[in-house]
């Protein structure tokens, strides 16, 4: 169950003003909004269109082009399993499989309790410590199946 968050319009306004209402900053504005809500709530789109002077279709085209932007709600913890080449040859797929089974979610899906979103990411540049995953902004390296599951358990306990 994903709880919809109330949108703090003042904060959205501040983000847009921070970038000087500049349409070239659209992607960064959406990234900042994502940092707060973990996605870009679609109701923000018309506001962005008006303030930046662009069409809504343009915003959708940018939002759907870049991987860091999601228009659907995501979990409290975003789990990014690195599937870059270095992690791949060191067994990232095994880590991903273990997480899929444990979280009962496929890549790109959010767990039923709204806690975790499981995503694959192509290289986060920690290749020497692979396989690697990040949970929100924390990096966890040198993983295998069991240590990856332990990391998830820690976050699960954290929010309990």
């Amino acid at each position: 169950m994903i709880v919809k968050l109330e949108i703090d319009w003042k904060q959205i306004d501040e983000i847009i003003t921070h970038y000087g209402n500049e349409k070239e900053a659209l992607l960064m504005i959406m990234q900042d909004i994502s940092d707060i809500y973990h996605y870009v709530p679609p109701e923000v789109v018309p506001v962005l269109a008006e303030k930046l002077g662009v069409r809504k279709s343009h915003i959708f085209s940018v939002a759907t082009f870049y991987k860091t932007i999601s228009l659907v709600p995501r979990g409290k913890f975003i789990v990014h399993v690195c599937t870059g080449t270095a992690c791949h040859v060191r067994g990232a797929e095994k880590v991903m499989d273990a997480l899929k089974t444990d979280l009962k979610a496929q890549e790109g899906e959010t767990t039923a309790d709204g806690l975790f979103t499981l995503e694959g990411v192509r290289c986060i540049g920690c290749c020497a410590s692979g396989p690697v995953m990040t949970v929100n902004k924390e990096t966890h390296g040198g993983l295998d199946r069991s240590s990856a599951l332990k990391v998830i358990d820690n976050y699960r306990n954290l929010s309990a």
Binding site: E22, K23, E24, A25, L26, L27, M28, Q31, H58, S61, V62, F65, Y66, K67, T68, I69, T83, G84, T85, A86, H88, V89, R90, K94, V121, R122, C123, I124, G125, C126, C127, A128, S129, G130, V132, K137, T139, H140, G141, G142, R145
Partner: protein, 616 residues
């Protein structure tokens, strides 16, 4: 901070900083790059400060959180200066021992000394470790010495002296001439001569832009991230010098959103350069103005392509365009735009400081200077390695990298990321530079070097890259979009045991079509990982297609595990570890695997100390 009004003020500041922290001072450098950070540098730092305070040493010993040292395998790394004592894999528990024995007792902590995994010899000092000793770190070397958030640190090691030289002793033409003479070529992978690019950009009228490509999208390459995190001022200084040469007042760094520490450290660096008057209006009183702004990319591999990157900078989807008109003529906002990558920019101050002649003395005939490689995958010493152009693959992988772990056999090294290819053992003595690797079907690219051992399935690797590229293709042109989709279908079929005669030829035909007709570099180079793979590892494709076998034991439908009754000691480890209870057998007697319940997870194979589990 007061603005530096002229060159003399900069030199005066440098002198005072060098007097304040002389090289002979006791200094602990603790790596806080993303790699070591993931292993827990922050906790070690806290423990270290507490321990120093406990012994009242906080004023005598300086602690520096630096950027990436490169030896990421052994993180968190601690180096104690001036001697250069090296302690790997430091944990908070080890800190008190280090402080008591090394700082106070002036002796080494024997059990914490680095042990060379190849010779098993203990090596106590950083410069004696083969991983470091065999490198030539002219670009990356300062990373371990400076705190990336302190502009003072950068100035103390000679920072911004090249900028002063460029502003006051040289004309823009001199600068372009010097860079041309140095032989510097674009480090992002293209290898285009930097001086010629600058010169062409300067020739075109209009508002010119200087852009830094920090959208390091090659999976397996992270040198640009480490440079931006660890020494952001070297990149900024390079950009300012480039701007003087090109005649631009407007700079941008396009950096990946997935590199948060790089963004933070770069932001801090830009602010402090601005407040010292090294950026902004009237730099060092020269009358030259230059600003740098950061733009964060959104995780799209294609945005490393120049036209796509500039489209993304304009706030649009990052779709490339055909390059009838080059970006040096019409790029960002339709203005002449000069794009170089992070490592290229970081080379510029070194060239201006040391001179083109010195720089051109390093490297090969057509590839000058050094190159940073990210040596990763199945190799003992993973990390970032800076060597002169022309160093052989064997020296990088075996002498510096320490070879393949667990006594496994080397199979191939993948260079150039998704645009490159896999190089087999017979070419290990090739010198690595822009031209040599392309002769065997790969490229040097931006410097990713992923080592693969006998347990890597080459068909799976090809499938992996095509899968990556299929997701990253912008979809504008048919050859790339449809070509990749079809290639992926064929490769997936081969990996799943549905491969048919003629598949290899079809892959080759598709690849050649894409190379010829795709719109941008992503599409034209996309078939490379598949084509070089077929060229050197055709037998693996044939084993998959004809014998329905995956010799490396990766493609699950094409192999099974069996326990060799002769070698099995009955140690019972696999029995205990198997999550499916598929292993049967009594202790000290040969075990067997029940093929019906086995899920081929590989836990038994990885865990067997006697190599008794075989891939069949």
């Amino acid at each position: 901070m007061a603005k530096l009004k002229n060159r003399e003020a900069l030199e005066k500041l440098r002198n005072s900083l060098q007097v304040k922290s002389p090289k002979s001072q006791r200094l602990i450098s603790l790596c806080a790059g993303s790699g070591c950070g993931a292993y827990g540098t922050a906790k070690v730092h806290t423990a270290l400060q507490e321990e120093l305070a406990k012994h009242n040493l906080q004023d005598q010993v300086q602690v520096k959180l630096t950027g990436c040292h490169g030896f990421c395998e052994k993180g968190p790394i601690m180096v104690i200066h001036p001697e250069g004592i090296f302690y790997p894999q430091v944990t908070p528990e080890k800190v008190s021992d280090i402080v008591r024995t090394t700082l106070i007792g002036q002796e080494l902590v024997d059990k914490l000394i680095y042990k060379d995994p190849v010779t098993k010899k203990k090596i106590s000092h950083e410069h004696e470790i083969p991983f470091y000793k065999l490198q030539k770190r002219i670009i990356f070397g300062n990373n371990g010495l400076i705190d990336p958030t302190s502009i003072d640190d950068y100035i103390a090691v000679g920072g911004y002296a090249a900028l002063a030289k460029a502003l006051f002793d040289m004309t823009p033409q001199d600068l372009i001439g010097e860079i041309k003479k140095s032989g510097l070529r674009g480090r992002g992978g293209g290898g285009f001569p930097t001086g010629i690019k600058w010169e062409t950009c300067r020739r075109h009228e209009g508002q010119r832009y200087v852009i830094c490509n920090a959208d390091e999208g090659d999976p397996g390459a992270y040198m640009d991230r480490s440079l931006l995190e660890g020494n952001p001022h070297s990149v900024i200084e390079g950009m300012i010098i480039g701007a003087i040469a090109i005649g631009s007042n407007d700079g941008y760094v396009y950096v990946r959103h997935e590199y948060p520490l790089a963004v933070t450290n770069l932001t801090t660096a830009l602010q402090s350069a601005m407040s010292l008057g090294l950026l902004g209006k009237n730099i060092l009183g020269s009358g030259f103005d230059f600003d740098v702004r950061i733009s964060r990319g959104g995780g799209a591999f294609v945005c490393g392509e120049s036209t796509a990157l500039m489209s993304s900078l304009e706030g649009k989807p990052g779709r490339p365009r055909a390059k009838y008109v080059h970006t040096v003529e019409k790029g960002f906002r339709e203005g002449p735009s000069n794009l170089n990558n992070v490592e290229t920019w970081a080379n510029v101050p070194v060239i201006i400081n040391q001179g083109a002649k010195w720089y051109a003395g390093i490297g090969t005939e057509k590839s000058k200077g050094t190159k940073i490689f990210s040596l990763v995958g199945k190799v003992v010493n993973t990390g970032l390695v800076e060597v002169p152009m022309g160093t052989t693959l064997r020296r990088i992988i075996f002498d510096i990298g320490g070879g393949i772990p667990k006594k496994k056999k080397f199979k191939a090294v993948q260079t150039g990321g998704p645009s490159g290819g896999c190089i087999p053992e017979q070419f290990l003595d090739l010198p690595v530079d822009f031209d040599e690797l392309s002769k065997v079907g790969s490229i040097m690219g931006s410097g990713g070097m992923i080592v693969m051992d006998q347990d890597t399935c080459m068909v799976d690797v090809a499938r992996y890259f095509v899968d990556f590229l299929k997701d990253e293709s912008c979809g504008q042109c048919n050859p790339c979009r449809e070509g990749l989709k079809n290639m992926l279908d064929i490769l997936t079929d081969i990996c799943q045991g549905r491969g048919r005669e003629g598949d290899i030829e079809l892959l080759e035909e598709l690849g050649m079509m894409m190379q010829k007709f795709s719109l941008c570099g992503l599409g034209t180079s996309a078939p490379n990982p598949v084509l070089t793979n077929i060229l050197y590892f055709r037998h693996e494709y044939e084993a998959h297609i004809r014998d329905k076998k995956c010799p490396a034991g990766i493609c699950k439908p094409l192999f099974h595990y069996e326990i060799d009754s002769e070698t099995c000691t009955g140690c019972h480890v696999c029995f205990q570890k198997c999550p499916q209870q598929a292993v049967a057998g009594d202790k000290k007697k040969p075990h067997t695997i029940n093929q019906d319940t086995c899920i081929k997870c590989g836990i038994c194979y990885d865990g067997c100390k006697f190599d008794a589990i075989k891939i069949c």
